[in-house]
């Protein structure tokens, strides 16, 4: 009996052991066979670390190859508060290095959070100081930061980037995809202490750097344009202004200055209005500078000639509106050239009446009114050119003298560049070339537009416009550049009220080109409500300063084939 019981106990024990072994074996089978892939993945997750290798954002360079925008690696200081045993002590030593208030820093370091930014994008030297402290729970991450070595130079053209290194304005936005590059990744196997296992699993997919952009901007001309504009704004108490310098033969923009301006390195403290690129975003009624288009249309369609004499009163009534010249005068006999040179509204409107509204509309369109320039700049305006069937009875008169239509300063500059290029439009361009990650340069090609007017018409009109700066009746004598023949036109246009009917204030502008016989440069200057308001007394002077500097900088031939010596850089106006 005892033997039987003993055997029974042994059997029971054996069964239990078998059952236990079965459970263990089953579990092992489950882990090793059925669930092996998940377990392998979990194990790999603990050992394998994948790091994103940030791609360096490409630089933006001036035409001479110097950096206008460059990205550099900085150090971001972060904390893992749950690993910090003494937040007060850590804050005490970190605060002076990072220039942060100790109390605020201590608050950040206290808590159960696993990750919190302490200070982003610090100088590498600061990062080294923080690393040397070897504080538990404090770490460093590499983060690129955008720098603009020339400060406010061409700030509105370049734009700026946001916290995530994405372009938010200007060319930084337009060419964001090209500049950004492609981030890489590094896969490494690490031990429990986080150290790389040298012979462990490892693979690196290198980041591809972004392309560099080489701009058409000439740094010296850009600077001179900005200084001249700043001086004009201070001197004539203008609300602001813009200046553009274009090479009419290629459409390359050598300078695009705006005032007020800002320093993209100090973005947070800048005024948002100062970040606007007025040259392509703002529209204005061009006023008398637009008479060039009316004159071109009239000459091209043979409704008049430069020498045709007309009797011009100082007033002209069309429908309910009376148009008047800038100054009272008796009825005068004037040639069409004199009408343009003295900027007679009445004379120009009389020519436009012969031209007709459809023809005037067509030529305004051909010269680029109501059409974007192709620059693809963020926020670029196409301007306003109403169709003839929407014109009022008085519209022919107003549009002929540059009111009732709206253009950007760049559109106006493009129209004059077309004339300066013998009647052939060239698309304005800001990018001279791109340089890819392998260092290969890809030049952009000038984009030629259609022929707008005949070369003969362009030559005739150029001679008429030379009279504006050099003729007896010219309104733009102040724009004359000693040693050069300059063609151009003044424009003093009323500013429409915003949100109300009527006008308030003036936009003063001067657009012209030189040397008139072989144009190298077109300069457009627009001042917002200067005192005095007449363009001949304000914008024309700023035009002269910029044009003179630029011609000499480029070594353009002066009259008689002489090359004048290079210019000196000006100092910015004192505040």
């Amino acid at each position: 009996m005892t033997k039987v019981r003993s055997t029974l106990r042994l059997l029971t024990l054996m069964c239990l052991m078998l059952a236990g072994s079965g459970v263990v074996a089953g579990r092992l089978f489950w882990l090793q066979v059925m669930d092996s892939s998940r377990m392998s993945a979990m194990a790999a997750e603990q050992r394998i670390r994948t790091l994103t290798l940030p791609a360096n954002r490409g630089s933006i360079l001036a035409s001479d190859g110097t950096e206008l925008a460059i990205s550099m690696e900085t150090k971001t200081v972060y904390a893992s508060p749950r690993e910090i045993e003494d937040p007060a002590g850590a804050a005490q030593v970190l605060a002076p290095i990072l220039a942060i208030d100790t109390g605020k820093l201590q608050a950040k370091l206290t808590g159960d959070s696993g990750f919190v930014y302490i200070a982003r994008r610090q100088d590498p030297e600061i990062g080294d100081q923080v690393a040397a402290l070897k504080l538990p729970g404090i770490g460093l991450l590499p983060e690129p930061k955008r720098f603009y070595p020339s400060g406010p130079l061409a700030a509105q053209v370049l734009g700026f980037v946001g916290d995530e290194n994405k372009g938010l304005a200007g060319l930084e936005t337009t060419y964001d995809a090209l500049l950004t590059g492609r981030p890489g990744k590094a896969v490494t196997e690490r031990d429990p202490a986080g150290r790389v296992i040298p012979v462990g699993e490892s693979s690196v997919q290198e980041a591809v750097e972004g392309n560099d952009l080489i701009l058409t901007i000439d740094k010296q001309i850009q600077y001179e344009a900005e200084v001249a504009l700043a001086r004009a704004v201070v001197r004539w108490q203008a609300n602001g202004g813009t200046a553009i310098v274009i090479d009419p033969r290629t459409g390359n923009i050598l300078a695009m200055a705006n005032n007020p301006t800002f320093d993209p390195n100090l973005l947070s403290s800048s005024d948002s209005a100062a970040r606007r690129n007025r040259a392509v975003v703002d529209i204005m009624e061009p006023g008398s500078v637009s008479k060039m288009v009316t004159a071109a249309a009239a000459l091209e369609t043979n409704v008049t000639t430069p020498t045709e004499v007309m009797r011009v009163d100082d007033k002209l009534r069309i429908g309910a509106k009376t148009f008047s010249d800038s100054h009272p005068h008796p009825i005068e006999s004037m040639t069409f050239s004199q009408i343009i040179q003295s900027s007679s509204n009445v004379g120009t409107i009389k020519v436009a009446e012969r031209l007709g509204k459809q023809s005037l509309y067509d030529y305004l369109g051909k010269f680029g009114y109501g059409r974007k320039t192709g620059l693809d700049f963020p926020g670029e305006s196409a301007g306003i050119l109403p169709k003839p069937d929407k014109w009022w009875q008085t519209s022919l008169g107003t549009i002929a003298i540059g009111q009732g239509v709206a253009v950007t300063p760049l559109q106006m500059a493009r129209a004059y560049a077309t004339l300066a290029n013998g009647g052939v439009e060239m698309e304005p361009n800001l990018v001279l070339a791109t340089v890819d990650a392998s260092g290969e340069r890809h030049d952009t090609k000038p984009v030629q537009g259609p022929r707008v007017i005949d070369a003969d018409t362009a030559e005739t009109l150029t001679e008429m416009l030379v009279g504006v700066t050099g003729g007896e009746d010219g309104t733009g004598h102040a724009a004359a550049v000693p040693g050069y023949r300059v063609a151009g036109k003044t424009g003093t246009a009323q500013k429409p009220r915003i949100g109300a009917a009527g006008y308030s204030g003036y936009m003063s502008s001067f657009v012209g080109f030189a040397p008139a016989d072989d144009p190298r440069l077109v300069v457009a200057v627009v001042l917002d409500d200067p005192q005095p308001f007449l363009a001949g007394e304000t914008a024309a002077i700023t035009f002269r300063e910029i044009m003179e500097f630029s011609l000499r900088r480029l070594g353009a031939e002066a009259a008689g084939g002489r090359i004048l010596p290079g210019p000196a850089l000006a100092a910015p106006p004192s505040e």
């Binding site: 950096e67 020339s150 040298p198 910015p572 106006p573």
Partner: protein
Amino acid sequence: MAALPSPRDSGGTPHARREHAFPPTGPRTAVPGRPGLSVVPGAVPAPRPRPSGSAAAGYRSRFKASFKSNPARVTAALLVVFAVVFGLVLLNIYVAQNSFHLSDLQRRAAALQTEQRRLRYEVARAESPENVVEMGASLGLVAPGNQKFLEGPSVLVSERTPIEGEESSR
């Protein structure tokens, strides 16, 4: 029972050594022209029937026999194995060292790249027109006032006078 002569005893040919190392599994026939190797009937033990499908066991037994009779070979083989293992360990150490060196070089390359970018930035900042003007002013340079461009002793080509406001800022 007469044993087959060892290769050393016989000073025989490689063929004989092979025969010794790998005993025949069936009755030998006389080899013409090689009397020393003739088979004496009855001198060779009757061949043991080999278990079917046990080629591996046969090899093992042959190896054992070989190792017993050639301790030098065994030592040499062990040395070779040891050398291979040691070589692998050395190779591993070498690879690990190079791996550390590579990651060190990569760190240095990254640091130098960062430094190069910083220097490019410094150069660009130093070359900025604003900085050039400031430096010029600090060195006492001033832009000219009235500028006259002459050709020859008396022909005035061009003249430039500073505009109002320009003078004070220069």
